[in-house]
């Protein structure tokens, strides 16, 4: 059986169920790299120039950990998933860059996804990928329909059940979760509602953000993430702040930020990676919006030198500020 490696980084958090279904329908076995560790991160960083953003370094570390464990590595080049939006350069050139900096990697399965080019091109691209496994075009078609259905189910799980992507993937794969179910086990009233905005690959990689979500939950806070909002909510908030979105990932930052700053959260934490191009401008827009609102906002920038103590200190200070604010409001 052909083994397909999928790195547990970048778009894994958004599309893994879809990819898995597609390849398994075509009779391949899917291998996912283990969760990020310090070794993964430092090995990935050692291959690229220093300014490359943290998630890309993590991604390359995951590719390195898959070397010799699979026959192919699946690295899509996702250009746009919505008309007239663009993705960051790192995503566009990801297969080429991986090939250049990791020459020992298994052959790369790449696919160009660009909906701006029209349906025909998109179907051709999917078919071209499927042809590596089967000669039968109908089988590719069946696999892609099943994959799309899996993606819709996944989105449903995220949105309706307020699950985070790792939890939703666990539920789909039916593996027991590692994280304790804070909601049911501790019936203590929540202290505050904190929204976290940013890209899924920063929010849910527990190694690079030092288990931020877990820490917030442990301190008895309700955590909101961009995936919990509906597309309409995200779109309307984006339109209010910047007009039409330019980046593919704009809604999870500007849209979610705009929405949570206005309603539903006592405080908003924006997470960016150092050197992230789109974020350098998008987070600025959210920050400017926060200055005109009363909702507290904190921006955390992550890179490979980020220390746990620094994150914890800032988080504690931020939470203290929010609690104080809430207490004051109750007294008044």
């Amino acid at each position: 059986m052909i083994k397909i490696g999928i790195p547990r980084a970048l778009l894994y958090y958004q599309y893994y169920p879809m990819w898995q279904t597609f390849f398994e329908e075509l009779g391949a076995e899917v291998v996912v790299s283990p969760p990020t560790t310090q070794t993964v991160l430092s090995e990935g960083s050692s291959r690229v120039v220093a300014e490359t953003c943290l998630p890309t370094k993590v991604f390359l570390g995951h590719v390195l950990s898959l070397v010799k464990k699979c026959d192919y590595i699946f690295i899509p080049a996702i250009r746009s998933v919505k008309s007239k939006t663009y993705n960051c350069s790192k995503f566009l050139g990801l297969p080429d860059m991986t090939k250049a900096v990791i020459p020992e990697s298994p052959p790369i399965l790449d696919i160009d996804i660009d909906v701006n080019k029209g349906k025909h091109e998109l179907y051709q691209a999917i078919y071209k990928l499927g042809r590596r496994f089967t000669w039968n075009p109908f089988r590719v078609r069946r696999a892609s329909i099943a994959a799309w259905q899996a993606n819709l189910n996944y989105q449903q799980l995220l949105c309706n059940h307020s699950l985070t992507p790792p939890q939703a993937i666990e539920r789909i794969l039916d593996t027991p979760g590692v994280e304790p179910k804070t909601h049911s086990e501790y019936p203590i009233p929540m202290q505050a509602t904190i929204a976290i905005i940013g890209h899924p690959y920063l929010l849910y990689d527990e190694h690079i953000n030092y288990r931020l979500i877990h820490r917030l939950k442990q301190a008895q806070n309700k955590v909101l993430t961009p995936e919990m909002l509906t597309t309409e909510e995200l779109e309307s908030a984006t339109a209010r702040l910047v007009g039409r979105a330019k980046w593919t990932c704009e809604e999870e930052v500007v849209g979610a930020g705009g929405h949570y700053l206005r309603s539903g959260a006592d405080g908003v934490i924006g997470i960016t990676a150092f050197g992230c191009g789109p974020d350098s401008l998008m987070m600025d827009i959210v920050q400017r919006q926060a200055q005109t609102m009363t909702t507290p906002f904190m921006s955390l920038t992550l890179d490979e030198h980020t220390a746990e103590a620094g994150i914890v200190t800032r988080l504690e200070a931020f939470l203290d500020m929010i609690y104080r604010k809430k207490r004051k409001r109750i007294c008044v």
Partner: protein, 356 residues
């Protein structure tokens, strides 16, 4: 409407020519200075790329001088530049300026119509043709200057004449005056006393468009290379950018198309900005360039991609990467250029020795 202009290389000359012909009120800001940059850095987001900071500084200076309309193209592919106008507008409005930001949101035709006060199409084309003639002359002059700078006896003379030439072409009122200025300054350049030593090294300058084009941003890197006796080759220019000949496009004769084709084995996709071209030029000019100086602003997404891919290309000349931000100092760059040029000389001597 008073249009504020932001600086980028020789684009002032072009804009002035068009504005004069069409009667647009253009606010001429002083060329970029330390103050421009300080203003930009003060109000910009911290990690945004260098061109944004300079543009912001330029715009503030233009607004101080009474401009009320600014131009910033948006949505230009997967580069941060397409997002500039949204953030620039917010920052400037928060600073209390009243202005209109013109982008091609409603199509490029609408934008041109708005900027030209609804001038007739014929008039616009005539004005654009005249401005492009100036640009073409400037770039021809520039190419000669690259050659002369490397071999002139009194270093700095060619640059002085070139600057006079820019002024003369800028002031030329018609085609005849442009031609005259061109002949005059070409002759002046040719008459400069030169040294007769072995052929100078040829070094290509490539990288991110804005940094390559703008001498203030790249700290006069071409002049510094000239001083070291190096002939500069550069294919990224405003002229190349606005070449409007449909045949050139259709046949893929532009440098851009050629370099994209050359880069395909290593980078087969457009990554935004000029990243693809930077990779391609290393392969395309493997034989005729002795070295490449690759310029980029700090954190530029496409160029970081290019820089990651470049070392895997086995053919091609050595590459020196220079990264610019507001803290870049000229002395540091000169030292690195000297070391790079020394290395190229040594490499060339060894090659010659091997051939003999």
């Amino acid at each position: 409407m008073r249009l504020g202009l932001t600086h980028m290389g020789n684009i002032d000359v072009v804009a002035k020519a068009i504005a004069n012909k069409l009667g647009i009120d253009l606010v001429m800001t002083p060329s970029a200075s330390r103050r421009t940059l300080d203003l930009g850095v003060k109000y910009s987001p911290e990690t945004v790329c260098f061109p944004f900071k300079l543009q912001l500084g330029n715009m503030i200076e233009a607004l101080e001088l009474g401009a009320d309309t600014l131009v910033m193209p948006g949505d230009l592919g997967p580069c941060r530049m397409g997002y500039y106008h949204k953030v620039l507008e917010q920052i400037l409005r928060e600073l209390g300026y009243k202005f209109q930001m013109v982008t091609q949101k409603r199509g490029i035709i609408h934008m041109v119509k708005y900027l030209t006060n609804g001038a007739s199409l014929g008039k616009i084309i005539t004005a654009a043709h005249f401005a492009l003639a100036k640009l073409k002359t400037l770039e021809e002059l520039e190419r000669v200057v690259y050659e002369i700078r490397a071999i002139e006896q009194d270093k700095g003379e060619a640059t002085r004449i070139y600057r006079e030439g820019i002024k003369a072409i800028d002031n030329a009122p018609d085609y005849r005056a442009i031609g005259q200025a061109k002949r005059e300054y070409l002759q002046k350049l040719m008459r400069l006393p030169t040294i007769t030593s072995p052929a100078p090294l040829k070094v290509g300058v490539t990288g991110e468009f804005f940094v390559v084009i703008d001498p203030f941003t790249n700290l006069d890197i071409e002049i510094e290379l000239g001083k070291l006796g190096v002939e500069v080759r550069r294919h990224i220019s405003i002229g190349e950018w606005v070449r409007l000949n449909p045949f050139v496009y259709a046949l893929g004769l532009r440098e851009k198309d050629k370099s994209h084709k050359a880069a395909t084995p290593y980078l087969s996709r457009f990554v935004g900005g000029d990243g693809w071209q930077s990779v391609g030029e290393k392969i395309l000019h493997a034989r005729d360039w002795d070295g490449i100086v690759h310029l980029e602003p700090f954190g530029c997404l496409p160029e970081v991609m290019a820089r990651n891919i470049m070392p895997s290309i086995k053919e091609g000349p050595p590459v020196l990467n220079i990264i610019y931000d507001e803290h870049t100092g000229k002395a540091g760059i000169i030292t690195r250029l000297e070391a790079f040029v020394d290395m190229l000389h040594r490499k060339k001597r060894r090659q010659v020795a091997l051939c003999v």
